[in-house]
């Protein structure tokens, strides 16, 4: 009887998880779907606990350890989720993801050290353990490195950018393989196990460390997929079908999402992982060069031009996110709108260095969803646009991507802002974007640079616009 109940609960949980993932892909249903997935997770956990109570029972000491783990993880997770600013979402996802990988790794370790207790004996269990340890360790160290790089705590050491890193990584992969073989040969020997743990942990670092900030979200998405694979492998270890299904779903869905992100940047997954084409040109200086013919202007001139405009398009980028200027931007656009100026936002698929990052930030600042226009829809509109305000975006508005076949950016879809009558680029200085490539847009006659931190420039702009009598209702 308990078996039937267990299967019913597991099937129900799988169904709800699937509906959750499905619902997460539509704006209207997304929030409910996320809650549905959370309910499914709770159901799965309660189902497991009840099933254990009904069959083997749960000892008092087990309850204590369950409670300890739950309290520590739950409280820290809740606090982190509440505290973290919206601008550091990519890092946060990386951190959570790494911990998921660590969890799979630890379970596999436990099963490898005490196979009898966890009924994880035999060749199948051993292979599952190896896979879980390997993928779990890579997910953990890779995600932590990704987080540290995005936070600016880590930078890539020089030798890591050379070809030497490939040799090192291959050596580590071979070492992990040797450990795995050793472990299978000795049917679970500890030496092989620790070799796998250490080699795959280092491999996660070695693979992630050379990847530039621009490509990091792709890597995070890929690691997210890995953590699903690690969970599925852990499912094989402890014999849980629910774990296998959920892990496989996340693994597959993560892969699709990774592909979508790569498409948005016109990069292949292989070149992100192994090529580092963009990063390499940044160091060698190829495609770089000095700027000539730069026009810069004050916020006052910018305000005057904006006041005279009828159609304004805002192009937000990573600089806006870093400066946390989304709220100030919203105030500026409110003032413009109150003066009858048509304001829309052009959202490049990878603006903010994480697909959808800009949408989240602008939504936080109460920008109506309908005003966020995707690249394909907004591009034909630029010739009819009076003013484009580029805020901390660079590579996504580089015309080289369409005009210069020798450019490393060539072929990447970009926003055709140069078609507009006037372009203002708000930027802290003349430094290159993530790709390290010179942006021809800045030299065009209809482009003016407004130097400064996005938040400060927008604040000044707001004052100037109000001085001009805008926004008085």
């Amino acid at each position: 009887m308990t078996d039937i109940l267990r299967y019913a609960i597991e099937l129900g949980a799988v169904l709800l998880l699937a509906l959750g993932i499905k619902g997460l892909s539509k704006v209207r249903s997304a929030r409910g779907a996320n809650q549905l997935a959370a309910v499914a997770m709770a159901l799965a956990v309660l189902g497991l606990l009840f099933n254990s109570l009904a069959t083997t029972g749960i000892s008092a000491s087990a309850w204590i350890w369950i409670l300890l783990g739950t309290l520590a993880g739950g409280v820290l997770g809740a606090i982190t989720a509440q505290r973290v600013p919206m601008t550091s979402m990519p890092e946060t996802v990386a951190l959570f993801n790494g911990c998921g990988g660590m969890s799979s790794l630890l379970v596999a370790l436990a099963a490898a050290l005490y196979p009898q207790a966890l009924e994880a004996t035999g060749a199948v269990a051993l292979v599952s353990i190896v896979v879980s340890v390997f993928v779990g360790a890579i997910t953990f160290t890779g995600s932590i490195v990704a987080m540290a790089k995005l936070q600016g705590w880590l930078s890539t050491p020089g030798w890591m950018q050379s070809r030497l890193r490939h040799a090192v990584n291959i050596a580590l992969a071979v070492l992990a393989l040797i450990g795995a073989i050793e472990m299978l040969r000795t049917s679970g020997g500890a030496t092989g196990l620790w070799i796998v743990v250490i080699a795959s942990g280092l491999l996660g670092i070695g693979v992630t460390l050379p990847i530039g900030g621009a490509d990091m979200p792709v890597v995070i998405s890929l690691l997210n997929s890995y953590s699903g694979v690690a969970a599925a492998a852990a499912g094989f270890v402890v014999g849980s079908q629910l774990l296998i299904v959920a892990g496989a779903m996340v693994g597959a869905a993560g892969l699709i999402l990774t592909q979508v992100m790569c498409d948005g940047m016109n990069r292949s997954l292989l070149s992100v992982l192994f090529g580092g084409a963009l990063g390499a040109s940044a160091t060698s200086g190829g495609g770089g060069g000095e700027y000539t013919n730069i026009t810069s202007c004050s916020t006052e001139e910018c305000a005057l031009t904006l006041e005279a405009a009828e159609r304004v398009v805002i192009v937000p980028g990573y600089g806006l996110a870093v400066a946390q200027a989304q709220h100030t931007l919203r105030e500026v656009t409110r003032v413009l709108e109150s003066a009858g100026i048509d304001v829309t936002y052009a959202i490049h698929p990878v603006a903010g260095r994480m697909p959808g990052h800009m949408n989240v930030l602008l939504a936080e600042a109460d920008v109506p969803y309908e005003q966020l226009i995707e690249m394909d829809q907004i591009n034909p509109e630029f010739p009819a646009t009076d003013v484009v305000l580029v805020l901390g975006a660079n590579d996504v508005v580089n015309p080289q991507a369409k005009s210069d076949p020798s450019s490393p950016l060539y072929g990447m879809p970009v926003l055709d802002v140069q078609e507009a009558r006037t372009v203002f680029v708000v930027k802290r200085g003349m430094s290159a974007g993530y790709s390290g490539i010179k942006n021809d847009l800045f030299e065009l006659a209809n482009t003016s640079m407004v130097f400064g931190d996005a938040k400060k420039v927008l604040g000044d702009l707001l004052v100037e616009l109000k001085d001009l009598g805008l926004g008085k209702t």
Partner: protein, 101 residues
């Protein structure tokens, strides 16, 4: 071949296909929340951690490993779902707040 193992392979295959099918078309707006939500679901390893603790008996190392694993997994799950909800709440509450101003 172990029949349960074959069964597990089928489950793995069908689960993967389901995952590929589920998110065919996603508006870019939802990429970050979807990634974050899927990431929370990958914390389903709580089940594995719980199993390890329950089967540990009085093996203190196993209890400790299971408990730490549970902590990591729950950090992933709770944090992941809450942070996703925080992001998505911004999409849904918008119209109401606009009227207030």
């Amino acid at each position: 071949m172990d029949p349960t193992f074959v069964e597990f392979l089928w489950v793995l295959l069908l689960g993967s296909l389901l995952g590929l099918e589920l998110i065919g078309k996603v508006p870019p707006t939802l990429h970050t929340p979807l990634m974050s939500g899927a990431n929370a679901i990958s914390g389903i390893t709580v089940l594995a951690a719980l199993t390890a603790i329950i089967k540990a008996g009085d093996n203190i190392v196993l209890l400790l490993l299971g408990s730490v694993s549970l902590g990591f997994a729950l950090f992933n799950v709770i944090g992941g779902f809450l942070v996703t909800d925080r992001m998505l709440a911004m999409f849904s509450r918008k119209p109401a707040r606009k009227e207030n101003r």
